[in-house]
Amino acid sequence: MMKRVYSTISQLKPNVCIVGSGPAGFYCAQQILKLLPQSTVDIYEKLPVPFGLVRYGVAPDHPEVKNVINTFTKTGDNPRVNFYGNICLGQDISLGDLTNAYHAVVLTYGADNDKKLNIPGEDGKNIISARSFVGWYNGLPEDASLDLSLDCEEATILGQGNVAMDVARILLSPVDQLKSTDITEHSLEKLSTSRIKSVNLVGRRGALQVAFTIKEFREMTKLPHVQTVFRNEQLCGVHEASATLARPRKRLTELILKTSNPDESKSNCSKYFRPIFLRSPTEFKLNDNGAITGINFAVNRLEGPLDNQQALVTEDTELIPSGIAFRSIGYQSRCVDSDIPFNEKSCTVIPKEGEF
């Protein structure tokens, strides 16, 4: 998220404009309305409808998370707020237009560029940005025609955060369970023909560094007909280390260890969720049609103190066969208007005094 305020709010009736109507935009509007009783707030949004990733990111089987929309709707209904959909900063309006017209401009247009791995074969068929996959099942117009094939048994997700978890859960959930959600028709149709049996969730570092949170992991362990399988040799030493951890990481690690023990009730599962640690992708293997058949990984080892372990590449490699791959290694913001002082390396706005 990036935010920038041109602050000359000394006038009695500040007119503020906010670009981007996700949670950052709405929470910001709420605070401005509350702290500056004379202010008016105009919200500009690229899409026709508000709420950003709450609408188009949060998974359809998590409808409760979207309850926050009720609070945002109240803010939008405030007579001092105007919402303008279908207006894109950098295309329909420029930053200069806005700074001329408003006392303050707040940029909350999110971080919608997904990071690339920059390894050979990355442009091959069926190598999908997790973010586009999410847009596809959530009804984001620009992702409606995503070209993907689920006609394979093994899928690999690169990254171990909660977006990666969402993708794994949607791929492994029984279609009947998804039918009762507001998932898009086109994705439901495709998912109902999926042959995927096994989903790998691959991370650079180890079990103690995973980025997903415990709620999402617990949900995976409870998915019907799905067994979570760890490579037990990758969990060596984890038990000993977990004693020293703070509560959140400790509880997550304990659940990982518990799940790695054989579970009788899961013995007749037909699908598998496989978190794999200590692997960095180095190359996508493609067939003659340019479609993915597998991913080459470098085997990593960890170095450094427990609270800051870094992955170091070794000489060992592993090929993991895979008919589809999803890239989910993080997101960055973009410079949508050349007047925004932007650091292209960190993908953030360059801070200036008086601007935040």
Binding site: Q30, V65, T73, Y84, D92, D97, N162, T213, P248
Partner: protein
């Protein structure tokens, strides 16, 4: 004012309009709003991070989130998921003796969300899961300074 600044570069600027048509399916949970007569009121005090004390009343069976909603208390961002155990914005910190008095320990699901809260303590609970009973009369809970929504990745 906006009319001066919008470049009409799209054919569909007639689209400029208010659209607040949320699409999410209805929640299965929702807030209970129990308005009751004065007789069985239980006093609760919320201590804000700036030290300010706010004392209000609730009814037996109300959660602390219900009490906040029913009394229109304005705690920024509190209760984002409306009591459905999918955020941690209703985090409150109890005194040890009050924590021990509560009939139920937090469930795994509550602890999972609490683990994402800022300023987590051993006597932290989610406000939507703490239900008022007569022996909690006079309860004081602390509302931490910051709320941390569940996911940032």
């Amino acid at each position: 004012m906006y009319r001066n600044i919008i470049k009409v570069s799209r054919g569909n600027v007639s689209h400029i309009r208010r659209i607040f048509s949320p699409s999410p399916p209805p929640s299965h949970f929702g807030l209970r709003r129990n308005y009751s007569n004065k007789t069985d009121q239980i006093k609760v005090t919320f201590k804000k991070h700036n030290g300010e004390l706010i004392t209000v009343s609730g009814k037996e069976g109300d959660s602390l989130l219900d009490v906040i909603v029913n009394n229109n208390l304005d705690f920024d961002g509190f209760g984002a998921c409306e009591g459905t155990l999918t955020c941690s914005t209703c985090h409150v910190i109890l005194k040890q003796e009050d924590y021990d008095k509560l009939p139920n320990r937090p469930t795994d699901e509550e602890l999972d969300m609490l683990d994402l809260a800022y300023d987590l303590t051993d006597t932290s609970r989610l406000g939507c899961q703490v239900v008022l009973s007569k022996d909690l009369e006079g309860l004081t809970v602390q509302v931490p300074a910051t709320v941390n929504d569940a996911r940032s990745s």
